[in-house]
Amino acid sequence: MSGWFPFHGGLKTVRHKTESNQQPIRSAALPKHVTVPLRQHIGAIAKPVVQVGERVLKGQMIGQPDGYVSAAVHAPTSGVVAAVDQQAVPHPSGLPDWCVTIESDGEDRWIEREPVDYRRLHPSALRNVLRSAGIVGLGGAAFPSAVKLNLSGHCERLDTLILNGAECEPWITCDDRLMRERAAEIIAGLRVMAQLLEPREVLIGIEDDKPEAIAAMAAACAGSGYAVRPVPARYPSGSVKQLVKLLTGKETPVDGLPVDAGVQCFNVATAYTVHRAIDRGEPVLSRIVTVTGHIRQPQNLEVLLGTSVAELIAQSGGYRDGVRRLIMGGPLMGFALHDDRVPVTKATNCILAASAAELAPEQPVMPCIRCGACADACPAELLPQQLYWHARAKEFDKAQDYHLFSCIECGCCSYVCPSRIPLVQYYRYAKNEIWALEKEKEKAELARQRHQARLERLEREKREREAKLRQKAPPRPAATAEKSPIEDAVARAKASAPPPETAVVTDSRDS
């Protein structure tokens, strides 16, 4: 079986792969300092475990995972912690976030590295090793991999484990080069994942415009039972749900995850970091970044996390004249950076310096003519023209009726829209508004509960006070046991007035 199951819509785009995929991966120069964000993953921010002035070694944990969905962060090189504070990070919002800045001592000295014999390890112990090695999805989402390597609660037995080497976005070639040059290491990491998930089959999906990568991966798979499956080069084949469909024919349920359909999917670069963590005892300290576009020397660099983007550009010959936009990620789903002085993170697969020639020309936005080109292109099989209509009119409930949250923001609709409407922007806006409304509702609900609780507490305290007053009035026989028999008798006579049961009942209710 070597066919595929086509998904609806998608795009044939200009590829722009050869600019950067012709020469081997180079190691970037050791930076003078690295600024390592503590949040490089989806989930809770890592807790800093180093102090300013502390000496750290390469590979030493500097941020500890906080909770189940979180990931560790490590010192990419040896040196001294210069700061633990908020710094500019690559995020669409442009807001700063907590980072650990390390002044490199130039020695790049490792901690003690301990390879793990994963075959003998209990699955949960193995997952913990991966968690503390800071392994997250390197395809762009940066979801903590240990969580995805645990099937409990999703399905009994995994049908298919997919390794995603599609790399469908134009310009990006970091996975292509990684597969060409380090296929054996990727497969070694894949073995660890396969041991944890015990899938019935293991498939590796690679777009058919990467024949060298396909050949290298197929050679590395020889004898393993894993199958390399070329898929047609059609954006967004590398999107998880679309790749799962391409390779297995299964559709991820609307409100679910691929694992609910019995499939789990990881990026090839993630498998590579698993191999490094297990077989060499090295946590995630670096990644391959495609530096390309309107610069003098496009290439793939192996970069320490926390290295400034500006430094990568400098090492790639610098900007050529006329760079208009700096994009982290691909041209279709990446986001524009405000500034090149931000660090590379685990999610940074590409830095694209775009000139006017690469960018969409600025055209006036025309009214929607309902031509439906967007619906023809939508891989989620939505009606983008209707979603747009409702998002624009702020009819968010209707937008949800049209499955707004199935939108993967791939940008196909905007790409084909003759009216040049920034459709994805409208969907992001609608989603954010809905989330904000829900938070608002939650807050209101919380406030209501708090108010209710306060009323109940006041009521209870009032009752308690009354009960105590009543208790004081009739002293208990036990309390007066040591008094004289006369006083005792007097007290007993007094006590007979109010019924003592009431007090007792109140007591028991309060306890």
Partner: protein
């Protein structure tokens, strides 16, 4: 270094509303060529006049509404409306009829409803219906298809005089130039109790559906198929419309071939093919879901047949399209496609 930011996607395909509209214009060229060949210069004069009036009206209304002129005049939507209407007009229609039709389309049907993208009704068909209802005699005075090469064809000058000054050249007998369309003839003579076979022996019917007419229809079919091939027009609409027209006309033809015209006649005559590929496919006023478009098209085909066979007008494409325009939002509501990952069935 600092940069300006924008949201993704950062690259866009090479397309525009102007491109889509220009494709519609290109696709009309073969059909229009056939019309000019069989019906003379009047077709071209109408086209030029309608285009000029449409652009002027568009510019005036855009200015009045405070909209930027350049992007909207460059989108060619007004030209498409003008051409769709002009093609539907009799070739010697007096100039003021064309002007009234175009103004009804651009000013009333388009801009008073909010301009491009907001009009609930097909503007060209509103213009056409206004004329059909107001000037039924002039609207049915079609030229007898002769061909420009015939000695008795009107010259360009004679045509211009006829359109702008009124009156036909004296060298033609009044009934030698204009006459009823095949659909009109069929309708009138069926009313007189004649059988279809007998009626269709008249030379006006040509090979399939009227000499001249069938060539124009074939030209529009070629252009229409190209529109579908380039995905400028949704295939479901012409498929639904011509499909339902074929099915229902076959049924009635099967019941009584002497009272009902054969399906090929219905498909190839009047505005059926032109309407299916060029008018019904106006995306703004049509249904927008894939299944909805089939239903929308089928509804038009059904209405066209009913109006032609049982209604008060010889052809019914304009009314059928306008009636289905009303139904389009409701059709869309009930024909939402299954989204990726939703359960089938």
């Amino acid at each position: 270094m600092r940069f300006r930011t924008m949201t993704s996607p950062h690259v866009l395909g090479a397309t525009s509303v102007g491109l889509v509209m220009r494709r519609v214009l290109y696709a009309m060229v073969p059909g229009i060529t056939a019309l000019v060949w069989f019906f003379g210069w009047g077709v071209l004069v109408n086209l030029v006049l309608a285009t000029a009036v449409a652009l002027l009206a568009e510019a005036a209304l855009l200015a009045a509404r405070g909209k930027p002129l350049a992007p909207h005049l460059n989108d060619y939507s007004a030209v498409v409306t003008a051409w769709l209407l002009a093609v539907a007009l009799p070739p010697l229609a007096p100039w003021w009829m064309t002007v009234i039709g175009v103004l009804s389309a651009i000013v009333v049907a388009k801009h008073l409803y909010g301009g491009l993208g907001y009009n609930p009704f097909n503007p060209a068909m509103i213009g056409y219906v206004v004329l059909l209802v107001s000037f039924p005699r002039e609207m049915s005075a079609w030229l007898i298809p002769h061909g420009l090469d015939r000695p008795h064809a009107m010259t360009l000058l004679e045509t211009l005089r006829a359109i702008f000054a009124g009156g036909l050249p004296e060298r033609f007998a009044p009934d030698g130039l204009t006459g009823a369309t095949p659909l009109d003839v069929l309708r009138t003579k069926l009313g007189l109790g004649l059988g279809v076979t007998e009626i269709r022996n008249s030379p006006v019917f040509g090979m399939v559906a009227g000499s001249g007419w069938e060539w124009a229809a074939s030209g529009f079919l070629a252009g229409g198929l190209w529109l579908v091939y380039t995905r400028t027009a949704a295939w479901q609409i012409p498929a639904g419309m011509l499909g339902s027209l074929a099915v229902i006309s076959t049924i009635f033809y099967g019941i009584d071939p002497q009272r009902y015209a054969p399906p090929w006649f219905h498909l190839w005559s009047g505005a059926a093919i032109f309407g299916a590929f060029f008018i019904a496919t106006d995306p703004v006023t049509a249904s927008t879901t894939p299944r909805g478009r089939l239903i929308y098209g089928a509804g038009i085909g059904l209405l066209v047949y009913l109006i032609r066979s049982f209604g008060g007008y010889p052809d019914g494409v304009a009314f059928a399209v306008l009636l289905m325009n009303i139904a389009a939002p409701t059709i869309d509501l009930y024909t939402q496609p299954r989204v990726f990952g939703a359960r089938r069935g």
